[in-house]
Amino acid sequence: MMWILLAVASSARTTADDQAALERMARGDQAGLAEMYDRHGRLVYSLALRIVRDRGDAEDVTQDVFVQAWRQASRFDTTRGNVAAWLLTMARSRAIDLIRRRRVRPQPGADDMVMETKDASPAPDVQFEWVQRAEVIQEAMGALPLVQRLAIELAFFEGLTQAEIAEQLEVPLGTVKTRIRQGLLKLRDRLAGAGATS
């Protein structure tokens, strides 16, 4: 379980580094942004690519995320959440906006409706990611019942609503809700089980 301790320790340090970088960004120092990009650019890009499945689009999303972070650096409250979670929330939100725009047939005036961009407010009140190890997450996802995993992936990575998932999988809405919740609860317990040993 040593590596979990290491993961926790390194994520705590990253947060302190991020805070320093963020402060530099807030002062208009580009070196802060460069540092932030070097630390999180790969993950932001990977998440965007997983969602949009197009390298060019994933690059655009990544650029938007870091430009927005640059603009809003002074307003980010590091006591409320960690920077990586904030960047990833923005990345997911923008990437999903993009694929939803692809999915919806453009209709006059409909743009504003589908385009309701989520507020990029500093999200999850996560002080640190207690697990940032890809294999831990992948293993936990892999152990889920297939129907629960599918429902979670369609919502998280494809940006489908529960109604769309119900339609897609041809199951009642209530079943989709249950599958998502049960799946997330199982992941929570599994991940907490991994983290609790540290």
Partner: protein, 279 residues
Amino acid sequence: MTTEQDPFRESSGAYVLDALDPAERLAFEAHLHECEECTAEVLSLRRVSSALPYGVPEVDPPASLRDRVLAAAAETRKPSSVVPFDRHRSEPSQAQPLKARPTMWAGWIAAAAGIVVAVGVGMYAAQLSTRLDDTQQRLTDAVNRLQDAEQRLQAATRETTTVRASLALLTAPDLADLRLAGQAPAPNARARAFLSRSRGLLFAATNLPAIPNDRTYQVWFLTPGAPVSAGLLRPDAQGNATVAFDFAASVPNPTGIAVSLEPEGGVPAPTGAIYLVTQ
């Protein structure tokens, strides 16, 4: 556990993944203000959802992206150097009034020229309009084709998600791999069932005959007692279907799997002809 007593609780996961529709999201948020248990659950599930991106396969962005990001940021921080864009509009018109030269002939010539110009402009406008219509038509065609392509891409994407998720099931330690053979109504039909107590049932069928709209294929767990429904199966135009089903803990260990033809929506116990059954 009071979970079952709070109807809102079931929505916590969908809420965390932004999967609720807007009205339900608002109602759920209102509920959060007065329910500590739901709030606690949402917070704990948020931690899970914020960990999901870390499970994504990592891919290196192109090296050029770093420069792009820095350049774009430098651009935004600049004080507004944008040219006020309505300057063109506020500029006085260049056209001088014709009456600046009050000679009579000049007036006629100018009028004639005006007509020529007007006719010319009219013809040009008509031509432009035709070209515009044409362009618009082509644009519409292109947009339609693009949308078709994108819809196909979306369908493929969802299929990829299913397949990707299915791979995990195929590596389950308790996997059972069952083969189903077509019965009298569909001798050419075949199916495989991958069954894991912990991860569910992945069912893949081929060569299923087309059926009327008011009928459906239904998949059954055959057990020592009565068959238990796994769910419905809707093949594509080629008669193929790959579907993931729940394998509830309440279902006894099955002795086999079968597919029957049932009324639309499915039935609690099989009534129709059996199309596929484990060998």
